[in-house]
Symmetry: C2
DNA sequence: CCAAAAGTGTTTCCGATACACCCATGA
DNA sequence: TCATGGGTGTATCGGAAACACTTTTGG
């Protein structure tokens, strides 16, 4: 026990809510705890922050160690530290992040690690360890809110996608059905979609054109002070 | 040095960006540091979180101790911990909050405490200690964004205010000039303003009617799933 | 009576919404 | 040839924006 301080200190952790999307449903990646407290319960991936480690780096490290997920969109969500007993062992303050992963890239990883990891439909996720239910709920609220005015939805889709896939994603996130023609008109009018000379493969009907999100155009849009919306 | 841990731990602090509004300008309350590091420099009020203390409680305590401000609207902003050298002494992770204060209630306090405290115009605040410039900037961005879709502007005004005062506040926050008739139409149409049978006093022209923000009506609005906007 | 701000409606315009049919492809 | 989804245009509606003069009050 070599590290001593004048006053007691809280432990500092990071937790990650990793969202994925699966042509139908919004999913979240959970790990099953292999030790107390809450042994056997599902929880958000996360762990202790090293004293010399930037917060976001800690979040990415834990993400990779526990689930194999890397190189994802990651954003700080909220810091949970109002309930001093949220961890039964001692005072733990946790900085929560949420991540958006392209499910296609991360299908296999789930079962590879020492810990048991699995994608759950957000709608029927089990009751989680610690206050992680609350963290998940906040992440979901944030995602649903943010998707309206920032083009983060694209982080959940493969790099090349059809307009119908994009529309389904928005319909899932916004919990609303959208008009196909109006949706296309709006999205294409923004000029943020690059129309590719490719079409989807292996479908049992007319193949749809593929598009790619144009990051450069979005940055230009931002510079001109304009906003993405709906 | 009675408190020992297996691994070294970061120190945990809270910092507060306290905004006030003064019929003209947006202000921020700063304190002058009386000890190193950054002795003499202006900084955001804040300090260490006690191990048994909820985060928000720590923020309110520091706010009161250092500036006398209490009972304000307070909301978590962001947790700063990516730069491991943001405090030159050791690793410090800081949970930042922002507060909205009615300047009228807090005019005197500024100079009362042991530390030197003062309201600065946000536009010409001095360069701050630590990474507090960055914290202030983020708080400002958040305030400007949030004011559009949540009725938090009222927290900056006295309980009874005129429509012109409210409009000036929004013009300041949004950095835009608004049409008087359209502004009034819109705000009154929301039904969130309670029209009082009082008028402002001691003005050298026709006295304006006073209004009060109707919290109950807002809660009802929220329950019906509707949003405040602009 | 003058200065200063309060208060008040209507028209115009643009973006949001509603809506239905033909086309291409693989089975 | 049939089932499945892809792709397309127009008319209507409603809220946002533009816009100027009269009223009240104190000095």
């Amino acid at each position: 026990m070599p590290h001593s301080y004048r006053y007691p200190r809280a432990a500092l952790t990071v937790d990650c809510v990793i969202f994925g999307y699966d042509t139908e449903d919004l999913k979240v990646l959970l790990i099953q705890r292999d030790s107390p407290p809450f042994e056997g319960r599902w929880a958000l991936p996360g762990g202790f922050v090293d004293v010399g480690e930037p917060l976001e780096e800690a979040a990415r490290r834990e993400l990779k160690e526990e689930t194999g997920v890397e190189k994802v969109y990651l954003e700080q969500l909220y810091t949970f530290g109002d309930d001093v007993k949220r961890d039964p062992r001692e005072r733990v303050v946790s900085v929560a992040y949420y991540a958006l992963a392209k499910l296609s890239d991360h299908r296999v990883q789930a079962a590879t690690d020492a810990r048991n990891a699995a994608w759950f439909q957000v709608a029927d996720a089990p009751s989680l360890a610690f206050d992680h239910d609350q963290v998940l709920e906040m992440a979901l609220t944030r995602l649903k809110g943010k998707v309206r005015y920032q083009p983060i939805g694209f982080e959940l889709l493969p790099p090349k996608f059809t307009l119908t896939q994009l529309q389904r994603l928005y319909e899932t996130l916004l919990e609303a059905s959208l008009d196909k023609r109006n949706f296309r008109k709006k999205l294409l009018a923004m000029g943020l979609l690059e129309e590719l000379d490719e079409i989807e493969q292996d479908v049992a009907h007319r193949a749809a054109r593929l598009y790619r999100f144009d990051k450069r155009a979005y940055r230009d849009l931002q510079k001109r002070g304009l906003h993405f919306e709906l």
